[in-house]
C-alpha cells in the first residue's frame, strides 16, 4: 500500500494508510487526492509515497464510512477537482488510530530497546 522510496525501502504496517490520510486532512484542511499524496511525500521527506492505486479506493471507503466528505471545487490553476475534508467521525477515528498506533509502536520500541 505504501512504499518506502528513495534511500530506504521499508514496508509500513498495514492499515496505516487511512491514518496518514486522516492526519494529512486534519492538518491541511481541504485537499484533493493529488495534494494528499504530495503532502505525505513532502512531510516524510520522500520516504513515504502513497500509491494512487491504493489512495482512491481508500478515499471511497472512507467516504462510505463517513470519515471524510468530498465536494467539487476549483484548483489553483482553475481546474475542476474533488476536494476532501475531515468529518467529525473522521476526527474521532483519527484519534483512535493514532493512540492505537502509539500503543503498538511503543510496544515495538520497548521490545527493540530491551534487546
Amino acid at each position: 500500500m505504501i512504499k518506502g522510496k528513495a534511500r530506504k525501502k521499508s514496508e509500513l504496517l498495514p492499515g496505516t494508510l487511512d491514518m496518514l490520510i486522516l492526519k494529512t486532512l486534519e492538518q491541511g484542511g481541504v485537499m484533493h487526492g493529488y495534494g494528499i499524496v504530495e503532502r505525505i511525500r513532502q512531510l516524510s521527506e520522500d520516504v513515504l509515497q502513497v500509491e494512487e492505486g491504493s489512495l482512491y479506493p481508500a478515499l471511497q471507503r472512507m467516504q462510505l464510512k463517513d470519515w471524510v466528505a468530498s465536494d467539487w471545487g476549483h484548483s489553483a490553476n482553475n481546474r475542476r477537482a474533488r476536494y476532501y475534508r475531515l468529518t467529525p467521525a473522521g476526527r474521532k477515528q483519527l484519534q483512535q488510530e493514532v493512540s492505537e498506533f502509539d500503543r503498538v509502536m511503543g510496544a515495538i520500541l520497548r521490545v527493540i530497546q530491551t534487546a
Binding site: 493529488y34 500509491e51 494512487e52 492505486g53 479506493p57 481546474r79
Partner: protein, 881 residues
C-alpha cells in the same frame, strides 16, 4: 456491522449511477495532469513525464473497479456477476451443461431418495414423547445361547411390573383382532390389547372420546374399543358421532369410546385397541411367552442398571417357577432398535451404494470440466491479464460448478419425490417394513440435499478450477489453439478420475450382480409344492359358536366339501397355517423311547391338516400313508413328518411306527408316525426347511384355519364363488387374507426384490455415467491428438495401428479401474452377505461376468472415438491447429 448511515450512503450510490464513474475518471485525470506538470517542472520531457504519471497509476480499469466495489454490496454483487457470467458460459455449451446436470441430478436424486428413507426410518425419533427412554423387555433363554428372544408371558409381565424399580412404567401389549359382525360381511379387524397405562406411557390420547378407564381393565368391566383413525375413516365412514355407539365385536356388544389420532400407529398393524383384562385366567399363564413388554426407564436410570435389576428379578422367578422359568432371563432393547434394527444394515448398504453413484457422477463432471477448462485457457488468461486475481478466477469457476450442482440438485429433488414414491410402491404391506408410512421428504432431507449439492459442486469443481487458474499467462495467450500434447498434470488428473469412476462402478455392478443372481436363485427355489392355481384364505371360527373341537372340525369339513364341489375348483384342503402366510405353529417334541435331553428340546413346525392336504398342494408322499378315515377324532393320534425330520432323527431306521410326543396346548400327546412327505418351504421362499410335523385336523382342530383351494384355472376368478360357498354355511365368520399362492410367494421375496431392484438401478446409472465418462475422455484425447494422428498416417501408419494406439490407451485405464474395483469388491461385498441367498459374497462367476461386462462397455465407449480418429484425413489433420 453495517450501520444505518452507511446503508443509506450505499443506497445513494446506486442513485448516482454513471455519474460515479464519470467523476472518478475526472478526478484521476486531474491527478495525472498535476503529476505531469510536476514531472516537467522537475526536468522530464513531456512524453517521459506523462509515461511516468500514467505508469504510477497502474491498472486504471482495476482501480476503477476497486473504487466502485467499495460501495457495492460487494459479495452479493460479485456473486450476481459470477452467476450471470456462469449462466452465459453454461448456456453457450448446452450439450455439456445438459450432460453434467443430468449426471448430477441422477446422483443427487438417488441420494436424496435413499436418505429420506434412512432419515425417516433410522434417524427421526420415534413418534412418542421422550422416545429414547422407551425400551422393550424380551425373554431370553440363556441355555439356548443363540441370542434369539421372545416376548414375555402374561404372568411374568405382572411380576416384572410389581417388582422392578428402574422403570417409570411398564406396559404390555399383545395381538387382539376382533371380528366385526352385523354389517354386510363379517370382518376380522386386526388389533392389539393394551395393558393399563400403556397408552399413557406412549403419550397417546384419543383425539375424539376418552382413553380406557380403570374399570375397563377388569373382566367384569364393560366391553370397550378405541378405533384407529384409519379404521374410523375406512370402516366406519368417518362417522362424527361414532363415540358411544355399540357394535358386535367378536360376539360381544362393544362400545366405541374414542378414536386415536392418525399418527398413532402402535403396533403398526393395529386398527383397534382393547383393554387387556388383568384379572382373567389368561393373565396367569407363565409358560407361553407372547406379550410384548415396553418400559419407560425412570429418569436418570441408564439401561444397564435396569438390565441388571431385571436379571435379578428373572433369577428370582426362575427359582420360584422352575417348570416354566428355569434358564429364562430378560434382555432390554431400546424400542427404536427393536423396531428398526433389522432393516438398518440393508438401508446403510443402499446409502453407501448411492454415495458411490454420486462419486461416479462427480468424477464424471469433474472430468468434463477439466476437458473444458483446457479449452478455456485463453479466456482465463485474458481475465487474469485484465487484473482478475487467482482467487477471483477460482471463485468464478466454482460459481459455475455450484450452478451446475444446484440445477442438478433441483432436478434431483424432483426425481427424489418420484423415487420415494417408487420405493414405497415396491414395498408391499406384508413386508412389515418399519415406519413405512413415515417416509417422506422433510426439511432434514432438503438440508441434506442442499449440503450434498454444495459438497459435490465444490468437490467436482475445485480441482479443475485450481488447475485452470494455475497457468502462465504469456504461454496461454501466445498459444495459437489447442495444445499439442496437453498438460501432463491435467492428463494424470483425468486418468485418475476415469480409473476411480470405473472402480466405483465395478463395485456397484458387483453388488447388484450378486443380488440379481441371489434373487434368481431364490425365485427358482422349489417351494416343495405346486404353486400354480392355488388360492388361500383364513377362515375364522368364533369360540362361542365353535368352542367344541368336534363342532369346529365338522364346521371346517362342511366348508371344505362345499368348496371342493364348486365347478371352478379341483380340490380344497385345510391347514392350521398355509405355507408362506407367515402363520406357523412351533411345537417342541420328543421321540418316545429315547432319553430326553432337557437342555436341547427339538422344535418343529406343526400343522393340523385335512387328509387331502398333500394331494391338493402336490406334496409327494415318500413313504407310509396319508391321513384317512382311520384318523378320526377318537382314534389313536397319528403324525406325518417331513423328510428332514426323518433324516435327522431316524437315519438308518424306518420312522414309520415310531412315536413322538408333543405338548398340545398343555396336553402331552403321543403320536404315531404313519407317513413321511417331502420338505416344503413353510415360512418364506428363502427360509430353509426345518422340521415339519403334521397331524389330522379331526384329531386336533386348531382355532382358526386356512382353506387352500386348487382352482382349475386362474384362482382369482374362483374367489367370489368360494366366498359365497363359505358364507352359505355361516355368514357370521370372517374370511380374511384371500390371496393366491403366487402373490404369497411374491410377497415372501419382497425384501430381496426391493434391494435387488434398487441396487440394480443404481449400478445401471453408474454404468451409464462411466460409459459417458470414458467416451468423453477418449473423444477429447482423440481431438487433441488429431495433429499427431495426421502425422502418423502421413508417415504410413495403417488404420489398425491408430485404432490399436487409441484403444490400448483406454484399455490401460479400464484395466486399472477394473483391477482396483475388484479388490474393493472383494473387501466390500462381504458386508452384504446377509442379503444374499445361496450365493457367496465373493462369487467368482459374478465377479468375472461383471468385470467382463464393464470392460466390454468401456471398450465400446472408447472404440467410437477411436474409429473417428482413423477417419481423419491426414491433410486436414496436419493443418489442424
Amino acid at each position: 456491522m453495517e450501520n444505518p448511515g452507511q446503508l443509506w450512503r450505499r443506497l445513494l450510490f446506486f442513485l448516482k449511477g454513471e455519474r460515479f464513474d464519470r467523476e472518478l475518471e475526472e478526478e484521476m485525470r486531474f491527478h495525472i495532469d498535476m503529476k505531469v506538470e510536476r514531472n516537467i517542472a522537475a526536468g522530464m520531457s513531456p512524453e517521459e513525464a506523462r509515461f511516468d504519471a500514467v505508469r504510477s497509476f497502474g491498472n486504471r480499469t482495476k482501480l476503477h473497479e476497486e473504487s466502485r466495489e467499495v460501495w457495492l454490496f460487494s459479495h452479493l454483487e460479485r456473486l450476481a456477476q459470477d452467476l450471470r457470467y456462469g449462466l452465459r458460459v453454461l448456456g453457450r455449451n448446452p450439450a455439456f451443461s445438459l450432460v453434467a446436470v443430468l449426471a448430477l441430478a441422477l446422483g443427487i436424486g438417488a441420494n436424496t431418495a435413499i436418505f429420506s428413507v434412512v432419515n425417516s426410518v433410522l434417524l427421526r425419533p420415534l413418534p412418542f414423547p421422550d422416545p429414547n427412554s422407551l425400551v422393550i423387555l424380551r425373554a431370553v433363554n440363556v441355555k439356548a445361547g443363540d441370542g434369539s428372544t421372545l416376548g414375555a408371558s402374561p404372568a411374568d409381565f405382572f411380576d416384572w411390573r410389581a417388582q422392578s424399580g428402574a422403570f417409570e412404567a411398564l406396559g404390555a401389549e399383545t395381538g387382539g383382532g376382533v371380528t366385526l359382525t352385523g354389517t354386510d360381511a363379517p370382518e376380522l379387524i386386526p388389533g392389539a390389547r393394551f395393558s393399563e397405562g400403556l397408552l399413557e406411557m406412549l403419550g397417546a390420547r384419543p383425539f375424539m372420546g376418552r382413553p380406557f378407564s380403570r374399570e375397563e381393565f377388569k373382566s367384569s368391566g364393560e366391553a370397550v374399543v378405541l378405533l384407529s383413525y384409519r379404521a374410523w375413516r375406512g370402516r366406519f365412514g368417518g362417522d362424527p358421532e361414532i363415540v358411544g355407539k355399540s357394535f358386535n365385536l367378536s360376539g360381544r356388544a362393544t362400545t366405541v369410546i374414542g378414536v386415536m389420532p392418525a399418527d398413532f400407529k402402535h403396533p403398526n398393524y393395529a386398527e383397534v385397541w382393547t383393554p387387556m383384562p388383568e384379572d382373567s385366567g389368561e393373565m396367569r399363564i407363565r409358560s407361553s411367552r407372547y406379550v410384548s413388554v415396553i418400559g419407560r426407564l425412570a429418569e436418570g436410570v441408564p439401561i444397564e442398571q435396569a438390565q441388571t435389576e431385571m436379571e435379578t428379578i428373572a433369577a428370582r422367578l426362575s427359582e420360584q417357577h422352575p417348570e416354566s422359568n428355569a434358564d429364562w432371563s430378560v434382555r432390554l432393547v431400546p424400542l427404536k432398535e427393536q423396531i428398526v434394527g433389522k432393516i438398518r444394515p440393508a438401508l446403510l448398504i443402499l446409502l453407501g451404494a448411492v454415495g458411490f453413484v454420486l462419486l461416479v457422477a462427480c468424477a464424471n463432471v469433474a472430468n468434463m470440466l477439466l476437458a473444458r477448462s483446457a479449452a478455456r485457457q485463453k479466456e482465463i488468461a485474458l481475465r487474469s491479464a485484465l487484473g482478475a486475481s487467482r482467487s477471483r478466477v477460482v471463485r468464478q469457476l466454482l460459481t459455475e460448478s455450484l450452478l451446475l450442482s444446484s440445477v442438478g440438485a433441483a432436478l434431483g429433488l424432483l426425481a427424489a419425490y418420484w423415487g420415494v414414491d417408487a420405493i414405497i410402491a415396491l414395498i408391499p404391506e406384508s413386508m412389515n417394513f418399519p415406519r413405512l408410512d413415515e417416509i417422506r421428504i422433510d426439511t432434514h432431507v432438503l438440508g441434506f440435499t442442499v449440503a450434498i449439492s454444495f459438497l459435490t459442486g465444490v468437490g467436482f469443481g475445485l480441482i479443475p478450477a485450481l488447475q485452470a487458474s494455475k497457468q502462465d499467462l504469456q504461454g496461454s495467450l501466445k498459444e495459437s489453439g489447442t495444445r499439442s500434447s496437453g498438460d501432463r498434470g491435467l492428463q494424470r488428473a483425468r486418468a485418475m478420475l476415469i480409473v476411480s469412476e470405473i472402480a466405483l462402478t465395478l463395485l456397484l455392478l458387483t453388488g447388484a450382480g450378486l443380488l440379481v443372481k441371489s434373487f434368481a436363485r431364490l425365485q427358482n427355489t422349489d417351494p416343495g409344492f405346486r404353486q400354480e392355481n392355488l388360492l388361500t384364505m383364513s377362515i375364522g371360527a368364533s369360540m362361542k359358536k365353535y368352542g367344541n373341537d368336534g363342532d369346529r372340525a365338522s364346521y371346517y369339513t362342511r366348508i371344505m366339501e362345499r368348496v371342493a364341489a364348486l365347478p371352478e375348483v379341483e380340490s380344497a384342503a385345510l391347514s392350521s397355517g398355509a405355507p408362506m402366510t407367515g402363520f406357523n405353529l412351533l411345537f417342541s417334541f420328543t421321540i418316545e423311547g429315547r432319553p430326553a435331553n432337557p437342555d436341547d428340546v427339538p422344535q418343529g413346525i406343526y400343522a393340523s391338516i385335512s387328509p387331502n392336504y398333500f394331494r391338493t398342494l402336490g406334496i409327494p408322499l415318500l413313504s407310509g400313508r396319508e391321513f384317512d378315515e382311520r384318523d378320526a377324532a377318537g382314534s389313536p393320534p397319528a403324525a406325518i413328518i417331513n423328510e428332514t425330520m426323518a433324516r435327522q432323527f431316524f437315519s438308518g431306521e424306518d420312522p414309520l411306527g415310531k412315536r413322538i410326543r408333543i405338548n398340545y396346548l398343555g396336553r402331552p400327546t403321543s403320536l404315531e408316525i404313519v407317513g413321511v412327505v417331502r420338505d416344503t418351504r413353510q415360512e418364506a421362499l428363502a427360509q430353509k426347511t426345518g422340521i415339519e410335523i403334521y397331524s389330522c385336523y379331526r384329531q386336533a382342530p386348531w382355532f382358526s384355519t386356512a382353506l387352500i383351494v386348487r382352482a382349475k384355472a386362474a384362482p382369482a376368478s374362483a374367489t367370489l364363488s368360494v366366498r359365497r360357498a363359505i358364507q352359505s354355511i355361516d355368514s357370521d365368520q370372517a374370511i380374511t387374507s384371500v390371496k393366491t399362492m403366487d402373490e404369497l410367494i411374491s410377497e415372501s421375496v419382497a425384501q430381496p426384490r426391493l434391494y435387488t431392484w434398487l441396487l440394480s438401478v443404481f449400478a445401471a446409472i453408474a454404468l451409464t455415467l462411466a460409459a459417458v465418462g470414458i467416451y468423453g475422455v477418449m473423444s477429447y484425447t482423440v481431438a487433441q491428438r488429431t495433429h499427431e494422428i495426421g502425422i502418423r498416417m502421413a508417415l504410413g501408419a495403417q488404420v489398425g495401428d491408430i485404432l490399436k494406439m487409441i484403444v490400448s490407451q483406454s484399455l490401460s485405464l479400464v484395466f486399472a479401474g477394473v483391477g482396483l474395483g475388484l479388490i474393493g469388491a472383494v473387501a466390500l461385498t462381504r458386508i452384504m452377505s446377509a442379503l444374499l441367498y445361496d450365493v457367496s459374497a465373493t462369487d467368482p462367476a459374478t465377479f468375472a461376468a461383471i468385470a467382463l461386462l464393464l470392460s466390454a462397455v468401456a471398450l465400446l465407449a472408447s472404440l467410437i472415438p477411436a474409429r473417428r480418429a482413423t477417419k481423419v484425413d491426414p491433410l486436414t489433420a496436419l493443418r489442424y491447429e
